[in-house]
Amino acid sequence: MIRLTDINRVFQVGDQQVHALRDINLTIDNGEYLSIMGPSGSGKSSLLNILGLLDNPSSGEYELEGEVVTHLSDEQQAVIRSTQIGFVFQFFHLLPRLSAEENIALPMMLAGIAAAERRKRTRKILDTLGLTDRAKHKPEQLSGGQRQRVAIGRATIMQPRVILADEPTGNLDRHSGHDVINILENLNQQGMALIIVTHDPELGERAHRKIRFVDGAITVDTGSN
C-alpha cells in the first residue's frame, strides 16, 4: 500500500519557485489500476518520480507498505527501487550496447543475482513477452513496440509491487500501443499495482481508478473500488 500525505514538490529555477506538486494526499492499494491524466506540466511525472523514489518531496510524507520511506538513505531507497518498483518510460531507455535479454537482466545483475538464476528468469519473461526469438537483438534492431516490451520485461523481472508507466504508449503507433497496454494490464491482473500516466483519453478510461491533475494538484479522483 502507498500513502502520500501533504506531498509538495517545489523546484527552484533561478530565483523562481516552480510548484510542481501541491499538497498531494493519495492512498493507493496493492494491485490497483490507476491512470493519471492532465495537461502538460501539471506534475504527473513529478508524482511518478516521487512514487518511484527517484525524487524526494520538498515536504510531506511517503509511506510504502507501512514504512515511511521519505528520509531513507540513498542506499535503502535504491533497494526499494530495485525490489518494489518497476519503471516504464516513454523513451524506453534501453542500453543500446546490451541485447534484449541483457537489458531485461540488468536489474538482477545490479541486485547481485547469480547468472544462472538470471538466465532462467529472463528466458521465462522473454517467452511471456513473445520476444524469445529477439533475445540476442540489440535495441536498434527492434521495433518501438518490441523495445517497450523489453522495457516492461526489465521493469517486472524483479517482481515489483508497483509498475510506474510514464506515457508508455507515447512513442508507439496504435497497434503496438495496444499490445503494450495488454501486457501491462495482464501484469496488473497478476497482482502488480499499475499506475499509468497518459495523454490518451481512451487509454485513461481503461483504468479502474482515474486521477486528474491540474497545476500540481489533484482535481478529480474517481476513488478506489
Binding site: S45, N49, G52, L54, D55, D74, E75, Q77, A78, V79, R81, S82, T83, F87, F89, F91, H93, L95, R97, L98, L106, P107, M109, L110, A111, G112, A114, A115, R154, A155, M158
Partner: protein
C-alpha cells in the same frame, strides 16, 4: 544487494569497447608512462649493476689506499687552507708489508702514452706496478712472464701487454723479446696477458704494464696513483686498515693524509648513488603518469556526460549512488590496469632491445620498480577517475531521463 565483481567487469568492458578510440587513447597515455618508468629504472639499475660489478671484480679482501683525506671534517679545512695532500710514494707502499696480515702489496701508477712497434702506433693506458699485481687481481698470462720483483725499486725496461694491444701491434707475430716504444723509451716485451678481465673501467686487454719506477720516470712523477693491499683474511680488514693509516701517518710527519677504502665501502657508496639515481629518473617518469591521469579524468568526464541517460536508468532500476560510483571507478581502473600491463610489456621489450644494442648493460628493470609503476598507474586511474565517478553518482536521474 551488491553486484558481483565479474558482472561489474563485464559491464565496464562492454562500455569501454563501445568507444575504442577513447579507450586506446587512455591505454596509450598510461602505457607510455609505465613503459618510461620500466625503461628508465632499467637503465639506472643497469648502470648500477655495471659499476658494482666493476668494483666487485676487485676482490673482497682488498684495501685501496689513495692519497688525500676524505670522510672527516678535516677535508673541508684542507680545501680552505689550500693544503694538498702529500704524495704516496713507493716506499710508503713497501713499508706496509710489515704487517703479518698483509698478503700482497701492489703500488699503482697510471697514465697514457703512445705505444708503437715498427710502423704501428697507438695511444694506450699504461699501468705501473710490480709482480704482485698479477695474483692480486687474478689476471692470467697468455705468454711469457709478468713483471719481475715484488720489492722492485728500480726501473727496468720491460713490459707486459694486453691481448688486444698485442693483436693490434703484432698481428700473429710472437711479441716476446720484441722492443716496443712507450712514450720516448724502449721496453722489451716479456709477456702478454690473456684476454678477459677488467679493472675499474680500464680494459685489461688494452693496457701496457711496466714496473712502478719505470712508470714514475715515464710520467715524471714521484707519486703513486694508489696502493692495492690484499689482506690475508676478511676479518683482518679493519685491523690492517688502521695499521695502514698509522704507518703512513708516521711516515708523513704525523699527518693523516691518506684514505683507505675497502671494496664494501666503495660498493656501498656506488650502490647508494645509483639507487637514488634510479629512484630519481623513475620518479620523473612517474610524473608522466599524472599527465595521463588528467587525460583520464577528462575522458571519463566526457564519458559520464554522454551516458547520463544510462546512469539515470541504472538508478531507476535500483542502482545506488555507491554502485554507480563503483562502476565508473572500475571502468577507470580497468583501463589503467590494462594500460599498465601494456606499458610493462612495452618497457620490457624496449629494455631487451637496449640490452641487445649495449650488451654490457644489464638493464632489466628492478621488480620493485615494475610493481610500483603498476600500482601507481592503477592509483592514478582511481584518483583521477574518482571525480568523474562521483559526478556520475550524484547525477539527478530525473533530469537524465527527462529528455526535455
Amino acid at each position: 544487494m551488491s553486484m558481483a565483481i565479474v558482472d561489474m567487469l563485464g559491464f565496464s568492458v562492454g562500455a569501454i569497447i563501445r568507444h575504442p578510440l577513447r579507450a586506446t587513447l587512455m591505454l596509450l597515455a598510461i602505457s607510455i608512462g609505465v613503459a618510461s618508468i620500466v625503461i628508465l629504472t632499467g637503465l639506472g639499475e643497469g648502470a648500477r649493476r655495471y659499476v658494482t660489478s666493476e668494483f666487485s671484480s676487485l676482490g673482497t679482501n682488498l684495501l685501496i689506499v689513495i692519497p688525500g683525506k676524505t670522510e672527516t671534517t678535516g677535508t673541508a679545512l684542507n680545501i680552505f687552507s689550500g693544503e694538498t695532500p702529500r704524495d704516496l710514494t713507493l716506499l710508503d707502499a713497501l713499508s706496509l708489508k710489515q704487517h703479518a696480515q698483509v698478503h700482497r702489496i701492489a703500488p699503482v701508477v697510471v697514465g697514457a702514452a703512445n705505444v708503437s712497434w715498427q710502423q704501428l702506433s697507438r695511444e694506450a693506458p699504461v699501468l705501473g706496478s710490480n709482480s704482485e699485481l698479477l695474483e692480486l687481481r687474478n689476471w692470467k698470462m697468455a705468454r711469457g712472464r709478468f713483471l719481475p720483483g715484488a720489492d722492485n725499486t728500480r726501473a727496468s725496461a720491460v713490459c707486459v701487454i694486453g691481448s688486444k694491444l698485442r693483436q693490434e701491434l703484432f698481428k700473429n707475430e710472437n711479441p716476446i723479446g720484441k722492443k716496443i716504444r712507450i712514450g720516448d723509451r724502449q721496453f722489451r716485451v716479456i709477456g702478454t696477458m690473456a684476454s678477459g678481465g677488467r679493472s675499474i673501467g680500464v680494459d685489461v686487454e688494452d693496457i701496457v704494464i711496466i714496473p712502478t719506477v719505470s712508470a714514475q720516470n715515464l710520467f715524471n712523477t714521484p707519486s703513486l696513483f694508489r696502493i692495492l693491499v690484499e689482506v690475508r683474511s676478511r676479518d683482518a680488514l679493519e685491523k690492517v686498515k688502521q695499521h695502514i693509516i698509522k704507518t703512513i701517518k708516521a711516515r708523513h710527519q704525523g699527518e693523516e693524509d691518506v684514505t683507505v677504502i675497502s671494496q664494501d665501502a666503495v660498493l656501498g657508496t656506488f650502490d647508494r648513488i645509483f639507487t637514488s639515481l634510479t629512484l630519481t629518473v623513475g620518479g620523473i617518469a612517474a610524473i608522466s603518469l599524472t599527465v595521463a591521469g588528467i587525460l583520464i579524468m577528462n575522458i571519463m568526464l566526457v564519458t559520464v556526460s554522454q551516458r547520463t541517460t544510462e546512469i539515470g536508468l541504472l538508478k531507476a532500476i535500483g542502482a545506488s549512488q555507491h554502485q554507480i560510483q563503483s562502476l565508473f571507478l572500475i571502468e577507470a581502473s580497468l583501463l589503467t590496469a590494462v594500460g599498465a600491463l601494456a606499458g610493462i610489456a612495452i618497457g620490457y621489450i624496449s629494455n631487451l632491445f637496449i640490452h641487445y644494442m649495449f650488451p654490457a648493460l644489464d638493464n632489466m628493470a628492478p621488480v620493485w620498480a615494475v610493481a610500483a609503476a603498476f600500482l601507481l598507474a592503477v592509483c592514478t586511474g582511481l584518483i583521477f577517475g574518482a571525480m568523474p565517478a562521483r559526478r556520475a553518482a550524484r547525477l539527478d536521474p530525473i533530469q537524465a531521463l527527462a529528455r526535455r
